[in-house]
Amino acid sequence: MQRGQGGKVPFGWNNPRVRSFVYQAAVLGIVLALVWFFTATAQENLARLNISSGFGFLDTTAGFGIIQTLIPYTEQSSYGRAFLVGLLNTLVVAVIGIVLSVMLGFLIGVMRLSRNWLVAKIAAGYVEVMRNVPLLLHLFFWYFAVLRPLPGPAESIEPLPGVFLNNRGLILPEPVFGATANAFFLAIAAALIGGFFLIRWARKRQVATGQLFPAWRASVALLVILPGVVWLVAGAPFELEFAEHAGFDFAGGMRLLPEFVALVLGLTLYTAGFIAEIVRAGILSVSKGQREAAAALGLKDSTTLRLVVIPQALRLIIPPLTSQILNLTKNSSLAVAIAYPDLVAVFAGTVLNQTGQAIEVIALTMAVYLTLSLITSLLMNWYNARIALKER
């Protein structure tokens, strides 16, 4: 739309500026009127139905139990505490799901481009099956059709020694850290910091002198050797505590609820299908000439992949990958359908039913997801800007 040239067009309907102002004022007016109407109606309804408003309810005793709590929580805790428990449960599922689905997605995406016919077809089949079935159906399938019908604790399936799978969940051995654990973790931290500086130094030296130093390999060696030496000298930093049959159930070990396992499985398998397609498209987008030029310069296949193909592919992969990561976070709210106590199930479910304060509860829940979306996209935008094409 062209703007008027200030004084040249006479004031009036033919002046685009005047028109634009009138349109905007009209639209804003309508929006404000709607907002005012809905607020007034809501106040009237709340008064009529005797529903209190405000966030005071967050301090009230909740009075219900939650099956998975990462922070101390009892029935005497407040609604605010229940909100935090739900939020943490959402975050833990989202983070684990993101890590697993990105790894699986990259693997499948690369497999789909394999020169091996069978490998490529398996990956293609995976993508077509997983992507075209609704996520909720994935969750129902894993939860109601696979995990819930499993035998009880007495006849648990033991896929690996010390790992038990039954209708009460997945029971893993729990690492119990001993006295030397601190030294072990210190060694890992030292190796990570050392590796970071080694890589920086090697890059600087290569820029200055052109000499290569196998910094990555040296760092990995550091990461294996340092903690390894500490392990050998000071003894094992942790012991695995295996779960044991105790009465009708297991004692000890680490227990993952079936709801949690189903949710992570469903989210991971579903989202990995989408990520695989993004990765494939990204790698395909790097033109053949780039590989050929790298080969002509005498670069090895692995070096070509690391220095030429992947950096260019990442540029195309990151933006859609961000939206997949956001989708996974938002999709974790489907937990409510299989009764995993995430934010939506605990807060927009139980708390809403008990307090009846729909407006506050839904607004707070939406605000959490909006904030999570905002933080994720800010982080990914920052990373994207870092790897973007630097034009000079």
């Binding site: 109606t41 091996n116 159906l137 395909l284």
Partner: protein
């Protein structure tokens, strides 16, 4: 390079592509490739036979009651599907009125299929019919809110019918809304641009479940006393707003791909803003993003399953409901029901995604690899 006389040589023999040569090239070209092939074959051996066994070879195909499926080792219980197929398609819609649903489906197919075939004439007329006439006819037929038809409340709708109603409403409402929002987001007027950005980013930032919760528990609080739209209608409004935000971003992508010269030329010819957009820019932009629109529709189609969380029985919800029927309790019940639902959803979504790939190929004449 030195020249060599090759006139006297016999023509090179081409290696014929026998299955053995093909396998050697594609499966066993090197040691690592051979290992990969063997590992993959083992993985397939672990997964495919049990699946085929359950769904086909050990499956129970005939019978009318669950007793047919209770034999030890029996696989998928198809009698369960046959016995409940009406519920899966129509929900609790009165059996003697089912012809109205079938008529609606048939009309819908008659409108949509010609739209999908490229090169058929009268597409604009067809689009108008799909966006305006068909929804009205469908509402009258399904709800029966007219003399001569028996009214059927939406609480009796269910199954595939609800899945399609939610999905089609989502797409029909989101196309025009999405176009308006996309234009608004690219407008020169700051107030309108800001409103559109806030609207789009809000709906894209929250999960559909919270939108559905909002529609079913929060919306009634914002409406005057006595105004009480039914649950399905409220959910449809939520779905329409939600999908219009996603549609707006897809269409915005198309608008960005059209060079500004097109719009400027149209304005120079004396067209107004709406004429320039409607006759010149949008037809090009929308054609560019047909694959994106189809993909949004696939996403929406899968997301319709979430309505079961707010108590509306779509196909998946109906499968769940029939599974809790005591007449059909059996060990393989859940697997049977969910595999069947997965097959139905898969068929729809796979078909649509194939169509989207087909259109992408047709539209993209420049890419040659």
């Amino acid at each position: 390079m030195g020249m060599e006389d090759i006139t006297g040589r016999p023509a090179p023999r081409s290696k014929r592509l026998t299955p053995l040569v093909w396998a050697q090239r594609n499966l066993f070209s090197s040691v690592s490739n051979t290992i990969l092939t063997l590992v993959s074959a083992y993985l397939l051996w672990l997964t495919i036979p049990p699946v085929l066994d359950f769904t086909i070879f050990s499956a129970v195909w005939t019978g009318t009651t669950r007793e047919a499926c209770l034999a030890p080792g029996a696989g998928m219980c198809w009698p369960f599907i046959w016995a409940n197929i009406d519920q899966f398609i129509y929900g609790r819609y009165p059996p003697e009125e089912i012809w109205r649903v079938n008529l609606t489906f048939a009309l819908g197919a008659a409108v949509i299929i010609p739209m999908l075939i490229p090169g058929l004439p009268a597409r604009r007329l067809n689009l108008v019919f799909l966006l305006i006439v068909y929804p009205l006819v469908a509402i009258v037929l399904l709800a029966g809110d007219r003399p001569g038809l028996r009214p059927v409340p939406t609480s009796e709708w269910g199954g595939l019918l609800v899945t399609l109603v939610v999905a089609v409403t989502g797409i029909v409402a989101s196309l025009p809304l999405g176009v308006l929002l996309a234009l608004g987001r690219r407008s020169n007027m700051p107030a309108i641009r800001m409103l559109c950005i806030i609207f789009i980013e809000f709906w894209r930032g929250v999960p559909l479940i919270t939108v559905l919760f909002m529609a079913s528990v929060m919306l009634p609080l914002f409406l005057p006393e006595g105004v009480n739209p039914d649950n399905l209608l409220r959910v449809l409004v939520g779905v329409a707003l939600f999908s219009s935000a996603y549609m707006a971003e897809v269409i915005r992508g198309g608008l960005q791909a059209i060079p500004p010269g097109q719009y400027e030329a149209a304005r120079a010819l004396g067209l107004t803003y709406w004429q320039a957009m409607g006759q010149v820019v949008l037809p090009q932009a929308l054609r560019h993003v047909i694959p994106g629109i189809v993909n949004t529709f696939i996403g929406l189609f899968k997301d319709t399953t979430l309505v079961l969380i707010v108590g509306i029985f779509d196909l998946l919800g109906q499968v769940r409901a029939q599974l809790s029927d005591p007449n059909w309790t059996m060990p393989q019940g859940a697997l049977t029901g969910y595999i069947f639902a997965a097959l139905v959803f898969w068929a729809f979504c796979f078909g649509m995604s194939r169509y989207s790939t087909f259109m992408e190929r047709r539209l993209d004449t420049t890419r040659e690899r």
